[in-house]
Structures are given as C-alpha cells and as structure tokens.
C-alpha cells in the first residue's frame, strides 16, 4: 500500500493538482462522448421512423 491516509492519496506527494487535473478531464471526456453518441443513436432511430421535414 502506497498511502498512509486518504489525505496522502489525494495529495499525490504534492502533485495532486496535476495528477487529478489530468485524470478528471480524461474521465469527463470519456463520460461525455458516450452520452453524446447515445443521443445521436436515439436521434437516428427517431429520424428513421419520422424523417426530418426538410427532406
């Protein structure tokens, strides 16, 4: 085990800002993209049933 306490874990040996800044944005991107693709899939399915008006 590398960490003596939760505080030590979040501190990351003084590099907390950098480590968590990198991980947080990566996680955010990887949550937003699936949500975005899911929405596109649902929209595509809806458009098959009722095509958009401009066509």
């Amino acid at each position: 085990m590398n960490w003596s306490s939760a505080a030590a874990f979040f501190d990351m040996g003084g590099y907390g800002l950098y480590v968590w800044g990198a991980y947080a944005v990566t996680l955010l991107v990887m949550l937003v993209e699936p949500w975005w693709v899911r929405r596109r899939q649902r929209q595509a399915l809806r458009d098959v049933a009722t095509p958009p008006l401009q066509e």
Binding site: N2, G13, Y15, V19, V25, T26, E33, V37, L45, V48
Partner: protein
C-alpha cells in the same frame, strides 16, 4: 474456401454486429480500467525521480497510442471505402474520427499536466508535442471537410484523400523522439528492448491501453451505426431495425 470478406460491409449486418458486440466491449473497458487504476495507484511504487506525478503515464501513454492507432484505422477504412466503394467502410472511418480526436486531446491535456511538474512548462514546441497537435488538427480537418460536403459519396472521397495523406504524420510522431532532440522522453517500451520501468507500472499501463482500446472500438462502432441509420434512413433494413429497437425498448419498460 471462400472467405466472406464483405459480410459486414452491408450496413444492416454491421449495425447488428455492433449492437451485439458493444455491451461486451463496454464491460471489458470498465473492468480493465478499474483493475489498471487499482494497480496504478495502489500497487505500483512511487517513481524515484518523478515522484507521484509519473502516475499520469497510465492514461497519457494509452491515449497517445490510441490517437495514432485510431488514425491509421480511420485512414485504412477511408481508403477501403474509396477504392472498393463499400459505403460502410467510409462510415466506419467517419465514426472513428471524433474518438481519435478525443484521444489526441487527452494525450495533449495529460501531457500538459505532466510537463508542468516535470519540465516546468505546460507546453513547449517540441517535435513530439507539435506533431501530436498536428494529429489533432488532422482529425478536426477530416471531420470539417466531411461535414462541409453535402453529397455523401463525394464527401467520403475528399475526406479519404485527406486522411490518407495525413497518415504520414503518424510515423513522424512515433519516431520524433529519435529523429530530433526532444524535451519529451524517449519510448518507455519498445519491441526490441526491455521495458525501462517496473513491472507493476508496465502492467497498469498495458491494461489501461486495452481498456482504451475497447472504449475506442465501442465508441466508433456505436457512432458508425448511428451514421449508417442517418444515411440510409429510407431503406428497408433501417426501418426494420428501428422497428425492432422500438419493440426492445417497450419490452424493457
């Protein structure tokens, strides 16, 4: 023996295959990522020279690798779509692009958050960093070009040309740390030499690479399926598929 190379070039079969594969790819991505994070943060030791800042490597390197692999896959499928007139190949190339762009973005972002403590700078115009930034712009250029041309087939061809020419940048990124004197460190692992890192660190990094790989596949497949439905909304298979999905959705409620 006749190999059925073109079985999944029919959008209807491709979409069905993706729907079947994606839950497994998702499960694989999540499980591998959790194991990689556990090993990366709780088993792998603190680095002697870089302290705990080095732990960014567990996402930085997988994202950088995937940004290059996804680009080559995108260029390959764009070329297949162009030369063999298989529209699903072009749609798959189109489905890969945003995921590749996000991988390039993650590589650059995590690199900045690592460069600041390691080099004292968020960004330097180093050969490795600059060529990776160009990769991000190539993805964005590909997407912009594809979406700017209304005719789908013409758009496929024009963007395929851009993707193929841009592929020259991938070996430049990979060998940049050898060809030029870069601030960026050399390759941590290569096929010809023993890894320059502890086994647990390497394991966490490789597991995360497989997690990112599964994630990228799931995303590209899902997006390509959506694109296939958008482009072929008037076809019989698309209507049947949408009807089948509606029945499944009702069954879940």
């Amino acid at each position: 023996m006749s190999l059925r190379w073109f079985t999944f070039s029919a959008p209807s079969r491709f979409v069905r295959l993706c729907a079947r594969l994606n839950p497994w790819l998702w499960a694989l991505a999540v499980v591998l990522a959790l194991v990689a994070l556990y090993i990366g943060f709780f088993v792998a030791p603190t680095d002697a020279t870089q302290g705990d800042a080095y732990r960014i490597i567990f996402i930085h390197v997988p994202a950088a690798w995937m940004s290059m692999v996804v680009y080559l896959a995108m260029a390959f499928w764009a070329a297949v779509g162009w030369s063999m007139n298989t529209r699903m190949a072009s749609m798959l190339a189109q489905g890969l692009a945003p995921t590749g762009a996000l991988m390039a973005f993650i590589a650059l972002w995590t690199g900045a958050f690592w460069g600041r403590p390691a080099w004292g700078a968020w960004w330097v115009w180093d050969a490795r960093l600059t060529s990776e930034l160009i990769l991000l712009f190539l993805y964005l250029g590909y997407m912009a070009l594809k979406s700017s041309i209304d005719d789908e087939v013409r758009g496929d061809k024009a963007s395929a040309l851009l993707a193929i020419i841009g592929a020259i940048n991938v070996p430049i990124i990979y060998f940049s740390v050898r060809w030029w004197n870069t601030l960026h460190q050399g390759a941590t692992i290569s096929l010809t030499a023993a890894p320059k890192m502890a086994h647990t660190m390497l394991l966490a990094m490789l597991l995360m690479t497989f997690a990112f790989w599964a994630y990228a596949f799931a995303m590209a497949f899902a997006r390509a399926s959506a694109i296939a439905l958008e482009r072929e909304r008037h076809t019989l298979w698309a209507r049947q598929w949408a009807a089948g999905e509606a029945i499944t959705a009702e069954g879940e409620q």
